[in-house]
Symmetry: C2
Subunit: 329 residues, 2 copies
């Protein structure tokens, strides 16, 4: 049997934050919402001794010849040793035979990408059409991907950022100014970011909520993508209740791992409330933002469908370009 091995540099040369990739991920969400994808619960391995966690996600989308299994790690002490926080790989399996087809040794790149693209999709359906300012909490990798992806779907002139490490925030501000050509304002409190922005993306691994309902204002859209385990939380639970509209990438998964989990636990929201799934918006089965003053929240925990879609996109493009090494196993 033959297995194709693709390395990070090859994968990066095939897929990036581009409009086709947004459409592919949006199509994945649509298929999920219409029952065409089998999405098993995520595996979370807690390597507590070493302040690390490993997530395993997968989804089989009906009718496709292949699907992916994604392994993504995050180890909080890595940066102290000069190593990247996150890593991982994706494995493409044949949906016809179960055989391993390709190994995408992306070191976590495709996960970063598909997470940013989901943020863009949330904003495309839920943010005001015309916005002045975007805001981001956190100044790490996803603060970059989310805001660059947002720029593909909404034009903004100003970016507010709040982060806990001043040096990292300065570096972030510098990078985003030159990458996006926008004014970047470093805020000294998340409240300033939220009050000043039309769209806010929260990107931290916080275990203590910090974003308060009293900061919300008409027309605001918040995408919260930091919480992807049951012990993480960025938004106070009443933020979800205060919003006019709540959308999840996958309700069942957010109820276990996302911000929704905490709002349900606090009894502020019930699963019977009007919660939408992102795929209902991408497929047109439910509307996106309906008026200028709505306050909307999208809770993203990251679903295996995104992994299968982005892995197959990278793999197909790599094959067309003749990239990768094929080994006999």
């Amino acid at each position: 049997m033959k297995v194709t091995i693709l390395k990070e540099a090859e994968i990066r040369s095939c897929v990036s934050l581009d409009v086709d990739a947004i459409e592919a991920i949006a199509d994945g969400f649509s298929r999920l919402a219409s029952g065409q994808a089998s999405l098993p619960p995520v595996i979370c391995v807690d390597v507590a001794d070493n302040h690390g966690e490993v997530d395993i996600k997968t989804a089989y989308i009906q009718g496709l010849d292949y699907f992916a299994v994604k392994i993504a790690s995050g180890f909080y002490d890595n940066p102290l040793a000069g190593l990247p926080y996150g890593s991982g790989l994706m494995i493409i399996l044949s949906a016809k035979t179960g055989f391993v087809q390709a190994l995408l040794l992306d070191n976590g790149y495709l996960t970063d990408l598909r997470t940013g693209l989901a943020g863009a999709i949330a904003a495309r359906h839920l943010a005001r059409q015309q916005i002045e300012s975007a805001g981001v909490i956190g100044s790490g990798t996803q603060a970059r991907y989310q805001i660059k992806a947002l720029k593909l779907v909404r034009d903004f002139k100003r970016l507010y950022v709040y982060g806990i490490d001043p040096q990292q925030v300065d570096q972030y501000a510098h990078e985003m100014r030159s990458a996006l050509g926008v004014e970047v304002i470093v805020a000294d409190h998340p409240e300033i970011v939220v009050r000043g922005s039309d769209v806010v993306v929260t990107t931290t691994p916080s275990r203590i909520p910090y974003l308060k309902a009293e900061w919300l204002h008409p027309g605001l859209h918040i995408t919260c993508m930091g919480s992807d385990t049951e012990y993480k939380q960025e938004l106070y639970a009443d933020v979800l209740k205060s919003a006019d509209r709540l959308v999840c990438d996958r309700i069942a998964q957010c109820a276990r791992l996302g911000e929704l989990h905490h709002a349900l636990e606090a009894g502020l929201i019930s699963v019977d409330d009007q919660i939408s799934e992102l795929g209902e918006l991408t497929s047109g089965r439910k509307p996106g933002r309906e008026h200028e003053n709505e306050i909307t929240v999208c809770d993203l925990t990251g679903v295996g469908v995104q992994d299968t879609v982005i892995a197959l996109l990278a793999y197909e493009r790599a094959l067309r370009k003749g990239l990768g090494n094929s080994i006999e196993v």
Copy 2:
């Protein structure tokens, strides 16, 4: 970053059905039972369109530098196309950084092996010390691994086999006669196998129970390893109730995926009943077989600890032998 790639032939040259491997797996079960392993729920991907399934298992064992994620597939139509039913790979991750350390492209070999070894461990603790006959239901890959592994821990003169494909059963009987030097009796009904054997291993993917409580006899030990999804079942639920002793590889997992699942659902057994875990026997915290006439059943669904242990054993032996290709990713 560097990743070591090991191919099936290299892996086969490092680890097989050997006594050290039994001890390594037994130690893994002991650690699991003593709370030293984090064992997340299994992912089962049902590729129903193509009569296939993919299982993903993992376990982090405290104090080890690495752990494994295992992907194993089984596609029922593969043999019709002349392809092996099962395949898969194991991924070794650093428990210090989360980085991918090695890819074991074993095509399912290590899964077959660790499954057979668990059967040997079950028999070592639960079968009579002196046995005359062993029996097996099924004549596929696991019918081979289970019986060869059993021979490492119990000496038997006679092997009964029942399978649905006469040609495959004949081939099996021929192989086992020459591999083990025992008399092999092809039975035309599973009842003959069970009534004639001191130890029976059930190895089929049956979705309809066939092994009846009325066939049980004093001193019998049954290892059932066929059921590893909620819709598979080999033993009628009252077999578990009729046994004097019930042991699971992992109670929580068997309650979801194993024979135990059906006995619980039928209300014949409760989780409060005296069910042991295999690791309680390997660690000596609970006794194995206590007298000659006990009827014992061991329900094996396959746990991630086995995968981590066998992958690390293969990896360490391969490194010592200088095997594998290291690639920069």
